[in-house]
């Protein structure tokens, strides 16, 4: 009975602890001078270091989407420029942000949870607190801020590289001429698309880093606990990326 009660209340307990952690993080913003150096370190690790893998994934997503869209357009009545009209908005409004989000959930989310989890089980977080430092401000604020600031940069990079990949695939496969591809993209360009993608990227950056920080910060149980936190950070971040993607689509479109 007690076990069932614990299972039922656990999600509310976790949500409450997550909200309190974020509240503590925001109240420490006044001491940002202490954490500024750490922010730049995290921006490099989260953003700059992720560019190669994000670019690779975006390039292939753009290329594959182009080839598959061309494959599905069998009717001679549909102009080839439609390929550009499908691929470019797809990248800008959905794939650019979501693919980048999944990659960051694995690469950045897992790293954050493993780092903080190891710091927790080796008492490094206790050491920070015992010195009189706000460990949440020092460890979590720079990581979440770096995620929120750098994710849009990665998203924009992913869109550029993805569209370039699509153009390259169109050229190599002969599915559509580059001129037609661009014409299609221009004809069906939605001005709100890039804003929508940018809003998503801010939200995803926050979701991934805050969830991963939460998982790592409250790690329990030694090396096994660090492994569990790392896996959960990546998996739960992905789930919340999909959920927030849907919510944003319903609310903003």
């Amino acid at each position: 009975m007690a076990s069932l009660q614990l299972r039922l209340t656990q999600p509310f307990f976790s949500l409450g602890r997550y909200v309190m952690l974020l509240a503590k993080a925001f109240t420490s913003l006044g001491e940002f001078g202490l954490y500024r150096k750490n922010l730049f370190v995290q921006m490099v690790r989260t953003g700059i270091d992720s560019i190669p893998i994000v670019a690779l994934a975006a390039a292939f997503s753009g290329a594959v989407t182009t080839v598959q869209t061309a494959y599905q357009l069998v009717s001679p009545l549909i102009p080839k420029s439609t390929i550009g009209a499908v691929v470019v908005p797809s990248l800008i409004m959905e794939l650019g942000a979501v693919v980048t989000g999944f990659i960051l959930a694995g690469r950045v989310g897992a790293r954050i949870a493993a780092e903080l989890g190891t710091m927790r089980v080796t008492e490094q977080i206790d050491a920070l607190e015992a010195m009189g430092l706000n460990s949440v401000g020092y460890l979590i604020v720079p990581r979440v801020m770096a995620g929120v600031l750098m994710f849009p940069v990665l998203y924009v990079s992913a869109c550029f590289v993805g569209i370039s990949g699509g153009l390259l695939a169109a050229e190599i496969s002969g599915a559509v001429a580059i001129g037609e591809f661009i014409q299609g993209a221009r004809d069906y360009y939605l001005p709100f698309g890039p804003y929508f993608g940018l809003i998503k990227s801010f939200v995803f950056g926050f979701v991934i880093t805050s969830i991963s920080c939460y998982m790592g910060y409250f790690t329990e149980g030694g090396a096994e606990g660090v492994g569990r936190s790392t896996t959960q950070a990546a998996v739960i971040s992905c789930v919340y990326i999909l959920l927030s993607d849907l919510v944003l689509a319903i609310v903003l479109l």
């Binding site: 202490l34 190891t118 010195m131």
Partner: protein, 256 residues
């Protein structure tokens, strides 16, 4: 002065501390002893406010640290240096940066002053020239000594040592004990040593406090400890292969 008054702490259903009270006088070295899992480290974490008691108070210089704001608590904590069991050195920094960290964070010293201060602290723990090494390149004893250098960098009034000699060979343990004693004497620091190593207790402590079965079972001076007929205390000391009631030469005993 630190006063722990009737604190209770449970984790889930399991009580860890029950009605524990303790007074730590200015300038003394107090050893908190007890079996592994007896709640010594939990009590230590209460003293610096890393854990909050379910009931009871912890007073540092008359201030109830659980009744003040987080920012006030952090100011109280700056009077403490803590040596954690595994050292708790920051993996991402080398030894020099670990020791420099509190100085860079909490003082307005120049880079040159910080460098001199760090070198002095590393000298105090007999580790000159290891500044460039990462924690992963240091032995267990060296890690603890670097952590001790970090703990004294801000000249704290209180130092808490959590199992300072656990996992160390007898010679290194003696070195750590000597350091603790010297720091207490030279810097006039109040020291709280959480340990189950009776050799350490007898060589460095002025008083000892035994936690047994979640309660404070016995508190007294080292001389009292030698004279005591308390069965639990004697069993604990005997289990450490150390016989009380005889003049102590801890270093020799440990080396034998």
């Amino acid at each position: 002065m630190i006063k722990v008054e009737h604190i209770y702490k449970s984790f889930g259903e399991k009580p860890v501390l029950q009605d524990v009270s303790l007074t730590i006088e200015e300038g003394e070295t107090l050893a908190i002893i007890g079996r592994s899992g007896s709640g010594k480290s939990v009590l230590m974490k209460h003293i610096i406010g890393l854990l909050k008691p379910d009931r009871g108070r912890v007073l540092v210089d008359g201030t109830d640290i659980n009744a003040i704001s987080y920012s006030e608590l952090r100011r109280v904590r700056q009077q403490f240096g803590v040596l954690f069991q595994g050292g708790a050195l920051f993996d991402s920094m080398n030894a020099f940066d670990n020791v420099a960290f509190p100085l860079q964070t909490f003082t307005t010293k120049t880079k040159d002053e910080i460098r001199k201060e760090v070198e002095h602290c590393l000298d105090v723990v007999h580790l000159p020239g290891v500044g460039a090494k990462k924690p992963s390149e240091l032995s267990g004893g060296m890690k603890k000594r670097v952590a001790l250098a970090r703990a004294i960098a801000l000249r704290p009034r209180y130092i808490i040592y959590d199992e300072p000699t656990s996992g160390l060979d007898p010679e290194t343990s003696n070195t750590i004990d000597d350091l603790i004693k010297n720091l207490a004497d030279q810097l006039d620091i109040t020291s709280i040593v959480v340990t189950h190593d009776m050799h350490s207790v007898l060589s460095i402590a002025d008083r000892a406090a035994l936690i047994h079965a979640t309660r404070m079972h016995w508190v007294g001076t080292i001389a009292d400890l030698h004279r005591s007929n308390d069965a639990v205390l004697r069993a604990f000391v005997k289990a450490n292969e150390y016989f009380i009631g005889e003049p102590s030469t801890p270093s020799a005993a440990r080396a034998s």
